[in-house]
Amino acid sequence: MSGARKGPAVIIVGGGVTGLSTAWWLARAGADVTVIERGIVGWEASGRNGGGCTHYQSPLFLEEQRLWPQMDALLGYPTEYRRERIGIALTTGQLERSRRTVRIAAGFGFTATELDPPALRKLVPLVGENAVGGVHFHFGGHANPQRTVQAYAWAIQDLGGRILQHTDALAIRCNANRATSVETTRGTFACDELVIAAGPQTGMLAAEVGAHVPLAAARAEMIVTEPLPLMPIGGADGNGIYGRQTLRGNLAYGGGPHEWLEDHRIPPARPSTPLLRSLSRRLVELFPKAAHVRVIRSWAGIIENTPDGRPVLDRLTDPANVTIATMSSVGFGLSPASGHAIRDLALEGHCTFTDIDKLSLTRFAGLPPDWRETQGWLPLAAA
């Protein structure tokens, strides 16, 4: 791509899945992109999550569904995307909630069918006699987060974009209503447009340009088992845990209580706790036929939430060339579409393919400063 005329210089602070997808979309549009990442691309929650690609609540849902089946071809690298999902119900309450999601999906024109226990066990053979039924979503799917984040990064490079790993963004310089450069541990980089998509650090960086993005960071955990023979549909979850059977055959599942953290000075360590025992119990309940299967890893990730748990995708007015992006703890699956939307915000000033106005920052204008306390989202004092 060298020698090609470059478009606007866009700096994306944050090499998580949202920042990477954004950079990829911008590079495809001809922008001269630079991703600033403090560690390794997708190293944090973006590369360590359930891998689900089925988010009917989002305004980006249709774009998510349109794009995922094409992502391997578009990126040029494997994502391990597989279609379809199964929701498993162990109680009638769980089944009733699944039915409600069927009705929502139908509203978008997607098919989901209810499964009786024998039909469920045929598609998800690890399910036991305790399941009361399930729902087969003939849409959505799952992918491998680790492989996907690297695929984005490589695709950006193939389009001539730069990714600066092990590089901390230190300060953002503004002049006359515009962000002009980002000062980093590897020098200062000038920009025409700036995107801040730095996960839990997004609030701190946004404060550099005077924007208040209310976020609370928290730690959540997952477990992984040794591989098992592949089930017909690996994107199967329920019983309060989310996850998938990987294409290698491992069961990778998470869920359960999170631990709220201080919203600044987030440590690089990602410690896990004995929660793996509760996750193991939930997984045995979900898949009784996997009771003998060995757990080989667990891990924790740190993710951020806005006060209402919904994303912020917003281009600021002052400075006018800065776009703020946080997916509020639900970012991986939506990433093909969120990158598209953020690209639109940065280059067009608005999202071209769907309405995302309700995700603007203005909704938090009247938020009291002690909102975390009011919502009970405060970190614990160490025992």
Binding site: I40, G47, Y56, Q57, D72, G76, Y77, E80, L90, T91, R97, R100, T101, I104, G107, R147, Q150, H166, A218, A220, T225, E226, N239, G240, Y242, R248, G255, P257, H258, E259, W260, P267, A269, P271, S272, T273, P274, L276, R277, S280, V284, A291, H292, R294, V295, I296, S298, A300, R310, S328, S329, K358, E373, T374, G376, W377, L378, L380, A382, A383
Partner: protein, 516 residues
């Protein structure tokens, strides 16, 4: 004060039992630590995983047993007596009132620290074959020993390819070694002690193989194949039948009949639990690799101490040294004075390991496995290629390798693990992580100490879901469990935001407040 009911706050109960001093590992260091603690008046619990279940022996966890443990699939009880008998010092521990638990896995240990404040106290996860539980502790001494350094070659998957520590365990601890004719790779102190041990047991040592021109130690009355490397192991399902050697750099092959090939190339400190705890670890070559980055017996964690090989490889010549480190760790943990602990300065073992790895790569080529569990070859590892089960590799992948990844930043084994799956298998990387480091060091022309430690994660032993499953959860954990954060507005369909339907359709997540 309002508290998010879906958060971890208050979800963990205090563990049902508590040890003032918990010692993990009943080798010389751990036993000495436990006895010293008991003499000082502490309530001491000593856990050791031996005898481990046959299923783990089959996975080469924790040591490279290599299918040479007789009766491994039999009952665990069978070995318990043998293991207990092999540790005569245990009797004193019992007499001093130490709560000794053999056959008990310590699969995790956790303390509050950065990003965790939810634990009711310091806790360790323990388990037997049936169930797991948590045990609280005041202070912890990790005396988990060392494991075998593995390197692969054609045929290294065959039964009969064992590690030196595993061989010692099978001979002394389990008394269940089913081989007879042993070829040893390496000629250092570890090889020499292995020869001595095998001779005591009346086994035949058919030779020592050394890639360097000279033996590392004088070892009498054993045929030495210096300046030779192992080309391949030959055999069948029953195991190794012969080893084929050749001079380093090529030359006439030598075929040696044997049923066991013992890797005596080095040991690796067992730091798994220390990593899970969040202790700072660093590469200290004189102590054998990644060990606590603190003066032994301390670690960076106030309540956690390390002793024996887990704190750094001591001297094989001097087993009393391990006991001394154990006593010091225990005394330090209990706030008592102790003599200084000075680990011997081991020679540059990693240069030696690097020489071996280089010779094995030159002899065996790049199609040899780097990771057996995940079937990742050396070529796939160095090419940073996706696993073969994904099928045909896209054309763009051909332009990617370790070199292109290095242009993005320093080599990181965890990143390469995610891309190639090397080290992500059921043995938790015990068979491959050091040789993957060595291969990456060779492939990137870096020193092995420049390769960051790939992380260890709980459970540090592969244990079944049914064993780990918490049977002792609090009611709060059960009742307020949620699939994600339990923020009902998070799942409101976009079209309903700001409408009268907003509250009605909320709560669509994986939320489950029912008790199931």
């Amino acid at each position: 004060m309002i508290q998010d009911p879906k958060s971890i706050a208050g979800k963990y109960a205090s563990p049902a039992e508590h040890a003032e001093l918990l010692v993990i590992g009943a080798g010389p260091a751990g036993i000495a630590a436990a006895i010293e603690g008991a003499i000082a008046g502490a309530k001491v619990v000593l856990v050791d995983e031996n005898p481990v279940a046959g299923a783990l022996v089959g996975l080469d966890v924790p040591l490279l047993f290599g299918g040479r443990m007789a009766g491994a699939s039999g009952s665990k009880e069978r070995f318990t007596e043998s293991v207990a008998d092999s540790i005569p010092e245990l009797e004193e521990a019992y007499d001093r009132g130490v709560d000794v638990r053999l056959g008990t896995y310590a699969w995790g240990a956790f303390v509050n620290g950065p990003a965790v404040a939810s634990l009711p106290c310091n806790v360790a996860g323990i388990a037997d074959e049936a169930s797991s539980s948590m045990i609280g502790f005041g202070k912890l001494v990790v005396a988990a020993g060392a494991r075998d350094l593995c390197m692969f070659f054609p045929g290294s998957h065959l039964p009969g390819v064992v590690g030196a520590n595993a061989l010692a365990a099978m001979l002394c601890k389990y008394r269940a070694f089913n081989g007879h004719r042993i070829l040893i790779l390496g000629s250092g102190a570890l090889a020499r002690t292995t020869v001595e041990l095998a001779r005591e047991q009346g086994l035949s040592i058919v030779g020592l193989v050394e890639v360097r021109p000279q033996p590392q130690e004088e070892i009498a009355d054993v045929p030495l194949f210096a300046n030779h490397v192992l080309l391949r192991a030959e055999g069948d399902e029953a195991g190794v039948r012969a080893a084929v050697l050749a001079p380093v750099g090529g030359g006439d092959e030598v075929r040696i009949e044997c049923d066991t090939i013992c890797l005596a190339l080095g040991l690796v400190p067992n730091i798994e639990l220390l990593d899970v705890l969040g202790a700072q670890l660093a590469f200290h070559p004189e102590r054998g690799g990644f060990v606590p980055d603190a003066a032994p017996p301390t670690t960076s964690l106030a309540d956690v101490f390390a002793a024996g090989d887990a704190a750094g490889l001591g001297s094989i010549e001097d087993p009393a040294f391990a006991a001394a480190t154990g006593r010091a760790a225990s005394r330090a943990a209990l706030g008592l004075s102790h003599p200084p602990v000075a680990y011997p300065e081991n020679p540059a073992c990693h240069d030696y390991q690097r020489d071996w790895m280089r010779a094995l790569v030159a002899a065996g080529g790049l199609e040899v496995m780097a990771c057996q569990c995940e079937e990742v070859t050396r070529a796939d590892l160095l090419g940073v290629q996706p696993p073969r089960y994904l099928g045909e590799r896209p054309p763009a992948m051909a332009a990617r390798d370790l070199g292109t990844l290095l242009s993005d930043g320093p080599v990181n084994q965890d990143q390469i693990k995610r891309l190639t799956r090397a080290g992500m298998g059921a043995c938790q990387g015990r068979r491959c992580r050091e040789q993957v480091s060595l291969l990456l060091a060779l492939g990137s022309n870096a020193s092995v100490d420049a390769i960051p430690l790939p992380s260890w994660r709980a459970p540090v032993r592969p244990l079944p879901l049914s064993v780990l499953a918490a049977g002792d959860e609090t009611r709060s954990m059960r009742k307020h469990w949620d699939g994600w954060f339990g923020i009902s507005k998070q799942w409101t369909p976009y079209a309903d935001i700001g409408t009268e339907r907003e509250d009605w359709v909320a709560n669509f997540g994986l939320d489950d407040t029912e008790e199931t």
